[in-house]
């Protein structure tokens, strides 16, 4: 890990020297003691299962994916000698906390991160190199490749998928029936979606066609970009330093959303929705069809007859934003083998099926898309199969550009749907400038 904070000049040299000496001493001690500790970030090959010797490991995860992380940790602690102490950090504070901890060399043994922020951490060398360990997994090729790609830097792999959160369309079958729509025929194109949302909205009586987080940049990338991808268009260049968010396909997507706003097809509150409550609207049963995180499927009311479908493009196609958290071992951890034991277990058949799939969450392996739990719910199979079609965008400046409520993307998306969309080209340049900052 690169040096972080510290005074400059002689004091700094002294501090750095002392830290280096202590690190070297502790490394020698650790290696000599034979207690199973290993140097963080060494990348040395271990067996694919790691070490389960009763070590206590610390782990951080963000609140947004808390239920899944807690379920995995609980199951691991119950079946292993190693014990994981999980700390759930408020989602909005996560970057700041990781940054501050990295600065003081105080990162936990394991930390999960919203996958879009992972490139920031890999390039700053906050994670230990897990390349050989990941490659040694018998199911390495079946791991969600969008997460693996997001965690690969200069050819080395640093993270594995932890919790997968896909954007998918949720639609209310009861409302579809009332609106004389076929509940088994969800939208296959953006035009279908538009037509069906308007048909449901026409029911009146507090029923609305659709909903979205109109003041939430993260919601926008998560639910709008799949329509652009499904239309065969890229949103970012390969390096993540340039935006293509003013393309003809993107304009079609914005136009559709603007039409919904103009004609009041959207449930109240979309303009103000900062993302904190946007998933709470659909479960009330008054919205026809809207894109949602797949992780909310397991939290839906039992009596809500809902269907899920891939997010379509303007003229068809399908895609999804493969979000969620990826997890890695911090570069300063001295218990890499034990931490890897948890990671390897969490990706194994037992954890993926009996913990993740049982909780109606998306499995991190494409070879387990159909399993005993998903077999009982075809919606889960549909979601699991989307992993292979999905994308996780890669950009070092993702947070400050797209998630920041004062960043250029939120201005762009609000102008595109609540304004007249006239400044798209200018806004796209601002997004590019932020990405290349």
């Amino acid at each position: 890990m690169g040096s972080t904070t510290g005074p400059r000049g002689p004091v700094r040299r002294l501090a750095v020297g002392a830290a280096a000496f202590l690190a070297a001493a502790s490394l020698i001690t650790a290696c000599g003691s034979g207690d199973g500790d290993s140097a963080g970030g060494s990348g040395r090959t271990a067996d694919a299962k790691g070490v389960d010797d009763g070590a206590t490991l610390t782990m951080w995860t963000r609140a947004a994916t808390r239920p899944q992380s807690e379920a995995l940790v609980k199951a691991y602690n119950a079946s292993h000698k190693n014990k994981i102490e999980l700390t759930v950090v408020p989602t909005d504070d996560y970057q700041a906390k990781v940054g501050a901890a990295a600065g003081s060399h105080d990162l936990p043994d394991l930390f999960a991160s919203d996958v879009v922020f992972v490139p920031n951490y890999t390039t700053s060398k906050l994670f230990a190199d897990l390349t050989e360990r990941i490659d040694a997994l018998p199911f390495a090729a079946s791991l969600a490749q969008s997460h693996i790609k997001a965690g690969t830097y200069e050819g080395r792999k640093y993270v594995v998928p932890h919790t997968l959160d896909l954007s998918v369309l949720f639609y209310n079958k009861d409302l579809y029936r009332k609106a004389a729509l076929d509940p088994e025929k969800p939208p296959a194109t953006l035009a279908d979606w538009d037509r069906q949302a308007r048909a449901v909205d026409a029911l009146g009586g507090g029923v609305d066609g659709t909903f979205f987080g109109g003041n939430c940049g993260g919601c926008g990338v998560f639910t709008w970009w799949p329509s652009i991808w499904a239309g065969g268009e890229e949103v970012l260049n390969k390096e993540g330093t340039g935006a293509n968010l003013d393309s003809a396909t993107a304009k079609k997507v914005y136009d559709t959303y603007r039409g919904w706003v103009k004609d009041d097809i959207v449930a109240p509150g979309a303009r103000d929705e900062t993302g904190a409550t946007w998933t709470g609207v659909f479960p009330k049963g008054k919205v026809g069809v809207m894109p949602m995180p797949s992780t909310t499927l397991g939290l839906m009311p039992k009596n809500l007859d809902l269907g899920v479908a891939p997010i379509p493009g303007p003229d068809g196609g399908r895609s999804t934003f493969v979000g969620g958290d990826a997890v890695g071992v911090s570069a300063t951890s001295r218990k890499v083998d034990q931490a890897w034991n948890f990671l390897a277990w969490s990706l194994g058949d037992e954890a993926q099926v009996n913990v993740v799939a049982a909780h109606k969450d998306v499995v991190a392996r494409t070879d387990l898309a159909a399993n005993k739990y998903s077999a009982a719910d075809p919606r889960l199979v549909a979601i699991n199969q989307l992993v292979a079609d999905g994308r996780t965008p890669y950009a070092l400046k993702f947070g400050q550009t797209f998630n920041d409520p004062n960043g250029p993307w939120l201005s762009m998306m609000r102008d595109a749907v609540f304004g007249d969309g006239a400044s798209l080209e200018k806004d796209n340049k601002a997004v590019t400038a932020s990405l290349a900052d």
């Binding site: 690169g2 040096s3 972080t4 904070t5 510290g6 005074p7 400059r8 970057q95 700041a96 940054g99 501050a100 990295a102 600065g103 920031n120 951490y121 700053s124 906050l126 003041n215 449930a267 109240p268 509150g269 303009r271 103000d272 929705e273 900062t274 409550t277 709470g280 609207v281 947070g399 400050q400 998630n403 920041d404 409520p405 004062n406 960043g407 939120l410 201005s411 609000r414 900052d437």
Partner: protein
Amino acid sequence: MHVKAPDRATAEHPPPTRPADRSPRNAAPRRHSRRIQGLGYAAPTAVFVTVFFLLPLLLVGQMSLDDWPLLAGDQGVNAPENYTDVMDSPLFWPAVRFTLLYTAVVTVVLLGLALLLALLVQESRPGAGFFRTVYFLPGAVGLASASLLFWGLYSPTTGPLSRILEHLGLVDDPVSFLGTPTSALLSTVFLVVWKFAGFYMLILLVGLQRIPHEVYEAARMDGASRGQIFRSITLPLLRPSLALSLLLCVTGSLLAFDQFFVLTKGGPDNSTVTVVQLIYREAFQRLNLGTAAALSILVLGALLLLNALQFRGLRRSDES
């Protein structure tokens, strides 16, 4: 300090009980011991101020001159770019303007209401204690908690306020309390006034109770009206308390963060971004501590200047 010589002692002025202690010969060691004693008393505060204020301040000063990414550490001198970059940000001047506007609105509304409340509960009438407590109660709630409470109340999706207004027939559609720049500002000001009016009421109440009753009685005997009494007696004699309230209110408003971070996140459309939010954004969204520190130093400088001016006003009002 004057030391009386023992030979000048008279029957009326008996000698000190410990004349030896007061001899000039022992004055120096006593002064030395007192100095050590004084240092001992001051040391905890000095250590506290040094560790928790001076050293961080020096570190911030250094950071403001260096390129200091949050995740990659100090990468050398980056001055004056840290300062110029932050001022080149398209959000900087709008944030400065908005912070000043917010400060002006809050100061006028908050202190006006606080003064009104203080005047209402000034006299020790039955129930005055109850109302003093009630007015002060919101002050006991943390600002972040209060912001979260109001965020819930204002939410058009889940909050009750909009529904109540609809139910009463006052509005037809859900109200977007935070949906436009003006409504977002006013909704935030409402929260802040609710939260702090009682606190400032307390300061002003103490000031009001320091004004002697005789002055009011004399004015009444001279036939002064209520308005004249308020203008010519209450306000002038309340100036020290008003100046202190003004100082606290202006400083607090210029440093506004929590309420906007929770309620508006700087929105809608970046219309409620405050200067401190910009500092947070530079540090934890753009992960650049250098520019965040530069902005902090600028804010500190502005506050020092403003506080110096206000202190001058405060002293002048004390002297008068």
